[in-house]
C-alpha cells in the first residue's frame, strides 16, 4: 500500500535464523568437526531414481554411508528447504526449480576442481541456460514431456500437440497434466512460442485455447496419466516420458511421442543445498555419480536419458535407440528447458490456470 511504512517489518527468515542460532548454541560440536567430515551423506532424491547398487558402491569406494530420503515433487523439495536446510548434503531439483533455488540462495556454488568427472558429460550438457557455466549444479538425468497414447485407439500418426489441445476426434479420452507450468508451456509450444514466454497477450491466447479444448479433456491427471492410459480410462495423455516408459514395458499397445512443435526438455540436477553439513562428501558423491560406469548403472535401472557421453558408450542398443528416451535430433532441437520466470509470472500463470480449471 502506498505511503504506508510498517514500523516492524518482521521477516520470517530472520526469525528462523534466530531460532537456528539458538539451536546451534544448544548443540555440542562433534569432536571431529574441525578435522575431517564424518563418513556420512544425506541425499534427497526422487523415488525409484537411483541405480540398484549405486549407493552401496559409493560406500565401498569411499567409506561414506549414504542415507537417501525421498520427495514426491519439486514443491515438496522446495518447501522442505525453504525454511532452512534440515541437514541434506545433496539434492536433486529439476531445472526451473533449481534456478529458483539459486536465486533464493538455497544452493551453494560447486567447486569444479573437485569434480574431474565433469568432463565425461556431453558438451551440450556442460552448460545450461538455467545455471550459466554450471556453477551450481551438474545434470543427473534428462527427459521430455510429450504425448503418451494407445496405438490401437488413435488414427494415423500422433505428432502434434493438436491431438490434446484442439482435436475433437478424441473428446473425453484425453488427460492433461494437472500442472500449470507444463500445460501452459506445452500450449505455448503448440502456438509456436517459447515455453518460457512471459507475454501476457500470448498467455491470454493459451488460456482461450485451453478453455476451448477443455470439453475434450476428461481429467487433469495428478501425474498419474500413465495409469489412466494403462487402465484404458484415457487413450491420450500428456506425460513425462519416463512415466510412459514404465507402462510401455508392460503394454505393447502404448507408445510415446514428442510433438514436432517441440516440448519441455527437463533436467534433474545434482546440487548442494546451502548449509549442507558435509560439502566435501557431497562433492565426492557428485563426482562419483558422473563416473561412466556408475551413471550407466543408474540409466540401466531407471531408463531415463543420461547426459553422460562416456556412460552412453556403455549402454545397449535398446536403450540408445528408444525414441521415448532419445527423441529424433530435429525434435530435440525444438525442445527447451523451462526457466524460472520470477514470482510475478508464476502468479500470472497460476491465475490463468485457476481460470482454466474453473471455466
Amino acid at each position: 500500500m502506498t505511503g504506508y511504512t510498517p514500523k516492524f517489518s518482521r521477516k520470517r527468515r530472520s526469525i528462523l535464523q534466530g531460532l537456528g542460532a539458538l539451536g546451534l548454541g544448544l548443540t555440542f560440536l562433534p569432536r571431529n568437526s574441525l578435522s575431517e567430515e564424518e563418513k556420512k551423506l544425506n541425499f534427497y532424491n526422487w523415488d525409484t531414481y537411483i541405480g540398484e547398487t549405486t549407493l552401496a558402491d559409493f560406500e565401498k569406494a569411499t567409506g561414506i554411508e549414504v542415507k537417501m530420503d525421498l520427495f514426491a515433487d519439486n514443491d515438496e523439495l522446495f518447501a522442505k528447504l525453504k525454511a532452512g536446510n534440515p541437514g541434506y548434503d545433496v539434492i536433486c531439483p529439476t531445472n526451473d526449480n533449481l534456478e529458483r533455488m539459486i536465486k533464493a540462495n538455497m544452493v551453494t556454488p560447486l567447486d569444479h576442481a573437485k569434480l574431474p568427472n565433469f568432463k565425461n558429460l556431453d558438451p551440450v550438457f556442460q552448460d545450461a541456460a538455467f545455471d550459466p557455466g554450471r556453477k551450481h549444479s551438474v545434470p543427473y538425468l534428462w527427459g521430455t514431456v510429450g504425448v503418451g497414447f494407445r496405438k490401437s485407439k488413435v488414427e494415423g500418426t500422433v505428432d502434434s500437440w493438436k491431438v490434446l489441445f484442439e482435436d475433437d476426434k478424441y473428446a473425453g479420452r484425453i488427460a492433461l497434466l494437472g500442472d500449470a507450468k507444463v500445460v501452459i508451456g506445452s500450449a505455448l509450444k503448440y502456438l509456436g512460442q517459447s515455453l518460457n514466454s512471459t507475454d501476457p497477450a500470448m498467455l491470454k491466447k493459451v488460456e482461450e485455447l485451453l478453455i476451448a479444448g477443455k470439453k475434450n479433456v476428461k481429467v487433469y491427471a495428478d501425474d498419474n496419466g500413465q495409469d489412466l492410459l494403462a487402465s484404458g480410462d484415457v487413450d491420450l495423455t500428456m506425460e513425462y516420458n519416463g512415466d510412459i516408459l514404465q507402462v510401455m514395458a508392460e503394454d505393447d499397445d502404448i507408445s510415446y511421442v514428442v510433438p514436432t512443435e517441440g516440448a519441455e526438455m527437463w533436467q534433474d540436477c545434482l546440487a548442494i543445498p546451502t548449509g549442507a553439513p558435509r560439502p566435501e562428501n557431497a562433492h565426492a558423491f557428485i563426482n562419483f555419480i558422473m563416473d561412466p560406469e556408475v551413471e550407466a548403472g543408474i540409466a540401466k535401472t531407471v531408463q531415463y536419458g543420461t547426459p553422460n557421453a562416456e556412460a552412453k558408450k556403455l549402454m545397449d542398443k535398446a536403450y540408445l535407440e528408444n525414441p521415448a528416451i532419445f527423441p529424433p535430433a530435429e525434435v530435440v532441437a525444438k525442445c527447451e528447458p523451462a526457466l524460472y520466470l520470477g514470482e510475478d509470472v508464476t502468479k500470472m500463470r497460476d491465475e490463468t490456470w485457476t481460470r482454466v480449471q474453473a471455466a
Binding site: K218, V219, S231
Partner: protein, 284 residues
C-alpha cells in the same frame, strides 16, 4: 464434583497438556497464517507483514468466489446425501439387538483404519471404466459406464469418506431418545410417518445439526478427493489453496483464502449455535 478452585493442582495437571497442545500446534501456527494473510511477498522465500488487504481483495475476484460457491454447493449436496444415508443406518444400529451394536459401530469406523489416500485409490479401482463395478455390470450385459472424473464422483467420494462423521452423532442422539415419546405418539393415533416427522425428527435435530457441521466443514476444505476423482471441472477451493502453498509459492494469498474459508466455517458454527439454542430436544 468439587470446584476446580479447591483442587488447583489437579486442575493445572489436567489443564496444561491440552492447552499447551492447542497453543503450540494450533493457535500459534494459525496466528502465523493470519499474519501472512496481511503480508506481502518480498522475495522468493520471504514475506513481510505490511498490513495489506491486497490478498483479500484478490480473493474476492469472481473466479475465486465462483470456486468457493461451487465448493459450498458440492459440500452441501454431499452432506445431504450423507444425512439421507446415515439416518437409517444410525436408526438401524440403535434398534439392533444389544450384542450387535458394538460390531455395527465398529463397521462404521473401520474405514478410518485405512489411510484416506489408499481408500481413494481403492474407489478408483472399483469405479473406473474397466474397474470392478463395470466388470460385474458387464456380466449382466450392462455398461461399461463412465463413473469417475465428474462432479458426481467427487460427491460420491466425499459421502464415502465422511459418512462416519454423520452416523456417529446421529447414533448418539437417537440412542438417547426416550422411546416412550414414540409409543405415546403411536398410542394417541399418530401414524408411523407422522410420528417420525413430528416426534423423532425434532428430538434428534441436535444430532442432525452436529452431523451436518462435522461433514460439511471438512468437505468444504477437501482437495484430495476432487483432485483424484474429479474431472476437468472438479476444482474446489481446497485445491486452489493447496496450490498456493505448493506450486504457486504464494503463502500470503493462500492464507487469505484459508481465512475466507474459515469465516464460512464460523458462519456454519454460528448457525449451529443458533439451532442448538432453539432446540428443546436432547442436548448435543
Amino acid at each position: 464434583m468439587d470446584s476446580w478452585r479447591g483442587n488447583l493442582r489437579v486442575f493445572w495437571t489436567l489443564f496444561t497438556p491440552g492447552t499447551f497442545w492447542l497453543l503450540v500446534f494450533f493457535l500459534i501456527p494459525l496466528a502465523g497464517l493470519f499474519q501472512d494473510s496481511f503480508s506481502d511477498k518480498i522475495s522468493i522465500t520471504e514475506t513481510a507483514f505490511t498490513g495489506t488487504f491486497a490478498n483479500y481483495v484478490r480473493a474476492f475476484d469472481t473466479v475465486y468466489l465462483t470456486i468457493i460457491w461451487k465448493s459450498i454447493w458440492i459440500s452441501a449436496v454431499a452432506t445431504a446425501f450423507c444425512l439421507l444415508l446415515a439416518y437409517p443406518i444410525a436408526f438401524g444400529i440403535c434398534f439392533a439387538p444389544a450384542r450387535w451394536k458394538p460390531l455395527l459401530l465398529l463397521l462404521v469406523i473401520l474405514p478410518f483404519w485405512i489411510n484416506l489416500l489408499i481408500r481413494t485409490y481403492a474407489l478408483i479401482a472399483v469405479f473406473r471404466s474397466q474397474g470392478y463395478l463395470n466388470l460385474v455390470l458387464g456380466w449382466i450385459g450392462l455398461g461399461p459406464f463412465e463413473m469417475l472424473y465428474n462432479n458426481g464422483a467427487v460427491i460420491m467420494g466425499l459421502v464415502y469418506v465422511y459418512m462416519p462423521f454423520m452416523v456417529l452423532p446421529l447414533y448418539a442422539t437417537i440412542e438417547r431418545l426416550d422411546r416412550s415419546f414414540l409409543e405415546a405418539s403411536l398410542d394417541l393415533g399418530g401414524s408411523q410417518v407422522q410420528t417420525f416427522f413430528k416426534v423423532t425428527l425434532p428430538l434428534t435435530m441436535p444430532g442432525i445439526i452436529t452431523g451436518i457441521i462435522l461433514v460439511f466443514i471438512p468437505c468444504l476444505g477437501s482437495f484430495l478427493t476432487p483432485d483424484m476423482l474429479g474431472g476437468a471441472n472438479a476444482i474446489m477451493i481446497g485445491n486452489v489453496i493447496e496450490r498456493q502453498f505448493k506450486a504457486a509459492n504464494d503463502y500470503p494469498f493462500g492464507s487469505a483464502l484459508s481465512f475466507l474459508l474459515m469465516y464460512v466455517t464460523f458462519g456454519a458454527l454460528a448457525l449451529r449455535a443458533y439451532f442448538a439454542s432453539r432446540s428443546k430436544g436432547v442436548d448435543v
